[in-house]
Symmetry: C2
Subunit: 315 residues, 2 copies
């Protein structure tokens, strides 16, 4: 059994895997272009973005791809499915950094953190800045999976009323209300904070239209930390310009990196960060923990209990 990784881990993590599984041959390369023996791989470990059909065509023995991130939208999923290869990902390891990101940004925005930062630079002691509290507000999370659930848990600690919008609509812990996509309109109407954690799929490119923003409160804050292509930036900027919502916090963009001349950069009602909400110093150790759990099962009975991707659904 051979595991080929298109990325190096830390020495400690690599050593940990090798020592724990003497029956498995591990081969860690620094990039996919270094991999010259893909035909020998039973298992492939990758960040996903580097995979092409032409590369995979030589991977005759390949049965399982472990993606060390959450998004699989840049992978040739149809080809992979047609060749009976199973994909697992690192979903769930983003829940701490991403939920903390959202709380940081919402608290910071309501608190006028950047205004006080500019005042400090100007040595200006000015208390007449309008700040707001986030307690007892309403948060609607569109695409509420593991990350949304962790965010809702934190939000409830701040006495925020939480609403989940999901495909199934089933009840989930830490949500005061759970509705299906069909009821998204009413869930948008009442929210002070609209949080988008939607993946990029055929159905969500784009998901939000002009009418959605018209439904929202004029004071609503829209935060997108899922995928950038679920909303057309022109539609969003138009909603901001018309005062249909008050502010947008975007960790993701339809094009990444966002081109320097894109109007989102300098829009007065937009806070932009460069897709870092899921970044974490604990990222790789957490992802490898998930891989290990699956590997133990896989060696025993070929099962993969954690984070198996539904390839036709795309997440």
């Amino acid at each position: 059994m051979r595991v080929i990784s298109t990325t190096r881990l830390t020495n400690e993590l690599e050593k940990g895997l090798i020592e724990a599984h003497p029956s498995v041959t591990f081969q860690f390369e620094s990039s996919i272009t270094e991999v010259t023996n893909i035909e020998e791989a039973d298992i492939l470990m990758t960040y996903g973005e580097d995979l092409s059909v032409s590369f995979l065509e030589s991977a005759e023995r390949l049965k399982w791809i472990m993606v060390l991130s959450a998004g699989v939208d840049e992978m040739p999923l149809d080809w992979i499915r047609a060749h009976d290869i199973v994909v697992t990902n690192a979903k769930g390891i983003h829940k701490h950094p991403m939920s903390e990101y959202a709380m940081a940004m919402l608290l910071g925005h309501y608190r006028e953190m950047f205004t006080f930062y500019e005042q400090q630079k100007a040595k200006l002691w000015n208390q007449k800045v309008k700040t707001r509290e986030i307690n007892h507000r309403k948060m609607t999370i569109i695409g509420a999976g593991a990350i949304g659930e962790e965010l809702a848990r934190l939000a409830q600690a701040f006495y925020i009323e939480t609403t989940a919008v999901t495909k199934s609509g089933g009840t989930r812990p830490f949500f005061n209300n759970c509705v299906t996509m069909k009821e998204v309109d009413s869930a948008l109407k009442q929210a002070d904070f609209v949080i988008s954690i939607l993946p990029s799929t055929k159905e969500t490119r784009p998901f939000y239209c002009a009418d959605h923003f018209k439904l929202m409160k004029n004071s609503a804050v829209f935060l997108n930390m899922g995928r950038g292509d679920v909303v057309d930036p022109d539609v969003l900027m138009d909603a901001l310009d018309q005062g249909e919502i008050s502010h947008a916090i975007l960790d993701v963009s339809p094009e990444e990196p966002l081109p320097e001349d894109h109007p989102l950069w300098s829009h007065g009602k937009v806070t932009l960060t460069p897709h870092i909400s899921g970044k974490s110093a604990h990222y790789l150790p957490r992802a490898i923990e998930i891989f290990k759990e699956n590997l133990i099962s896989y060696l025993e009975d070929q099962s993969l209990p954690v984070n198996k991707i539904n390839l036709s659904r795309g997440y």
Copy 2:
């Protein structure tokens, strides 16, 4: 029974008090200099900073002073105590804005919020910024009263281990550990976040000395939102310059407003805000709620169940 207020409330709040208590005469002035009949006051409502002994000497009937803030350190407490006047304050109404302030600042600092803000201004898509998560860190709160308890509650939601340092050391909800001032050294040693919510009293001016900062982790963040005179800014800046702690977040200063030429303004390891952590749009309504509760009791049996200040202790 006459209540004289040295400040105007909102029309709605004034009307609410007048209508609820027809047996009481309410007199709302826009400042203490407008008060010409203090000798008729049974109850005085004030922000506290405006009171002098010479003013109070004419207040022959005065039995109760309601302070619409938390700090009473600028009031002539010895004189007030000698004249058997009871003081209550608005303690507790600060717990939501101040605990949210602390979480906003700590999350924002660990997340490098101001770095990303500068990058947006420069239209720079740079993901190579080291960010940290606050979950599973350790927080020590020095002077843990109502505000500290609310902050600890929020911190625990982020899986942070909380330690209270108080005079009594008694156990409190939402704290993993509760110690007395005698054990402050060990509580400082282990903390990633040291939060000071100490009042300004004879014993706390100053409270922190150079050795306290030497005890702290080099990576520790010191946040002061109590009173500015509990730490000498030179001692603090020296600790930052020597790398004994990594950062200071200060909502309070020994002099307020902080003079423009003060080195704290431009210290690279200091985040300064102009004493706004307790600011809230809900401030006055919440303070008047506390006053109402006391007034109902006072009219019944002269008791004041909420927030009676211990005048010899000073809080």
